[in-house]
């Protein structure tokens, strides 16, 4: 099994695993961070340390980090919470067609609650330009939600180019950075984003753990979406899962140390993979020409059918589309928004590399893909006719 699905999820970094163990193992720290006693206090200290670690990677203050159960919840909290809080100001939201489902489905839900949503179509390279966003604003616009890095193509949006213009107009800016943190430098001191979603399990932290950055100056306000004990400054109730939080903190700490090494290493392997895949004619890199993160390569293969392509590669754990909408059997809405027809969108593979990916794996993956695509093309009457 060659695991090239790190954009779906990653294994724990060994340091993350070790850090979590202390809060899981028999005899470890197991108190409820909300408890007043010594056991609780020890847990609380670990939680606050992790908060500082997460904040540091993105140039935020610890007090601006709200723990959640993952980026899905962060996206929901940011978008619904901001809409609920600010809807008297206006009810128009701007987002893009290539956002993650956690953003798109949330926006669709808000449409049933009186929101008007503009879904921008990116260019063929996957980029949504700042100008495009600014042109879509109306006096009613309260919120723009745009992802920093796309989970299927790895395309990096120009968040830094857009944020100041939105700040100037006092329009709230939410950024889904689930695929960006630890992969592109993020400095929220310099980039006036108001809300930013994070996930641990995309960068070697635990699944089921995330955070939302909520800016304090100027203060972004949210209506809470999970009501209860009033944890997290009232923004998100629920017992804090110490081990998960500690894992996320450790993952973000490691990510800060490895950001440029990862970038260099994954970029080199990604380039090698593409070079080898180029042995095949008629392949198309999705997001070609756009700035992209180092670890993701998404390629469409003309003349083969998607399901057979995937079935031909049982030893390759890659992905077609996002794991988050996999299992639905639909071809990727992201690739279709970039103008790929249904067949090509369906005959696409996302290779997402990770820290443990080796050159041998890349070479083996390339060999398997090239071989299987050739085999299916030889079988295909469409390919024969187009030849």
């Amino acid at each position: 099994m060659i695991y090239l699905d790190h954009a779906a999820t990653t294994p724990l970094d060994p340091a993350v695993f070790e850090a979590m163990l202390d809060f899981l193992k028999p005899g470890g720290v197991h108190g409820n961070p909300a408890s007043d006693h010594v056991e609780g206090k020890r847990a609380r200290q670990a939680v606050e340390q992790a908060r500082a670690d997460v904040a540091r990677l993105i140039g935020a203050e610890p007090g601006e980090i709200v723990w959640t159960s993952g980026a899905t919840e962060s996206d929901n909290l940011a978008i619904k919470g901001a809409f609920e809080f600010y809807k008297e100001r206006g009810r128009h939201i701007v987002t893009s067609m290539t956002e993650h489902k956690a953003v798109l489905d949330t926006c669709r839900y808000l449409e049933t609650q009186g929101a008007k949503v503009t879904y921008l179509r990116p260019g063929a390279d996957g980029c949504v330009s700042p100008g495009q966003v600014l042109d879509a604003l109306t006096p009613e616009t309260v919120l723009v939600s745009l992802m920093w890095v796309n989970n299927e193509t790895g395309v990096i949006q120009d968040i830094a180019g857009l944020a100041p213009a939105l700040r100037e107009k006092s329009i709230l800016f939410h950024v889904d950075a689930a695929q960006a943190a630890g992969k592109v430098p993020i400095d929220l001191r310099a980039v006036p984003v108001d809300l930013l979603s994070l996930s641990a399990h995309k960068i070697y932290g635990p699944k089921g753990m995330g955070a939302l950055f909520v800016r304090k100056r100027p203060r972004a306000r949210l209506a809470p979406q999970l009501h209860g004990g009033g944890h997290e400054q009232g923004m998100r109730s629920g017992t804090l899962p110490t081990h998960q939080i500690v894992g996320m903190g450790a993952a973000f700490r490691v990510a800060g140390q490895r950001l440029s090494a990862d970038h260099e290493q994954l970029g080199r392997l990604r380039d090698r993979l593409l070079e080898r895949l180029r042995a095949l004619p008629q392949i198309f890199v999705n997001g070609e020409g756009a700035p992209r993160v180092a670890g993701v390569l998404n390629v469409s293969f003309a003349g083969v059918e998607g399901e057979s392509l995937r079935a031909s590669l049982p030893e390759l754990a890659g992905s077609s589309g996002s794991a988050c909408s996999a299992g639905t059997g639909e071809s990727s809405y992201v690739l279709r928004a970039l103008g790929r027809d249904d067949d090509l969108a369906d005959a696409s593979l996302r290779f997402s590399l990770g820290r443990a990916t080796t050159q041998a794996e890349i070479d083996a993956a390339a060999e398997q893909v090239v071989g299987q695509v050739r085999r299916l093309r030889t079988l295909s009457p469409l390919w024969r006719e187009s030849a």
Partner: protein, 123 residues
Amino acid sequence: MGPNPFGYSEPVWRLFTELPRAGTLEGSRVLRGTAATPANRNRLELWLRMSGERIEDARFQAYGCPATIAVGGWVCEQAIGSTLAELALIRGKDIRQALEIPEDRLHCALLGEDAIKSLAPTS
């Protein structure tokens, strides 16, 4: 035959991974049949070479899911040694049963029946 992690039926998986009889045929005594689902999302082509009444060789090409591809191989395997009249008796539901294709993929099996029905001399 490698691992079958996606839960295809055993006959579909065998035919998909082994691809018996993939290819085309040329020459006289060759019949060709084609079938497609709407918008060409799945396609099946059959080539049969006759020897008198009997089918002496059979090949297929296919574009589509593993079940579609398996149908092509299976029809070819059935075809060899039989007559066209015998082959024409094969119905989509027979194919579906033989290959254990799930109900919601009946259209793949029907491609086999349609391709057989459309068989015609190539020259």
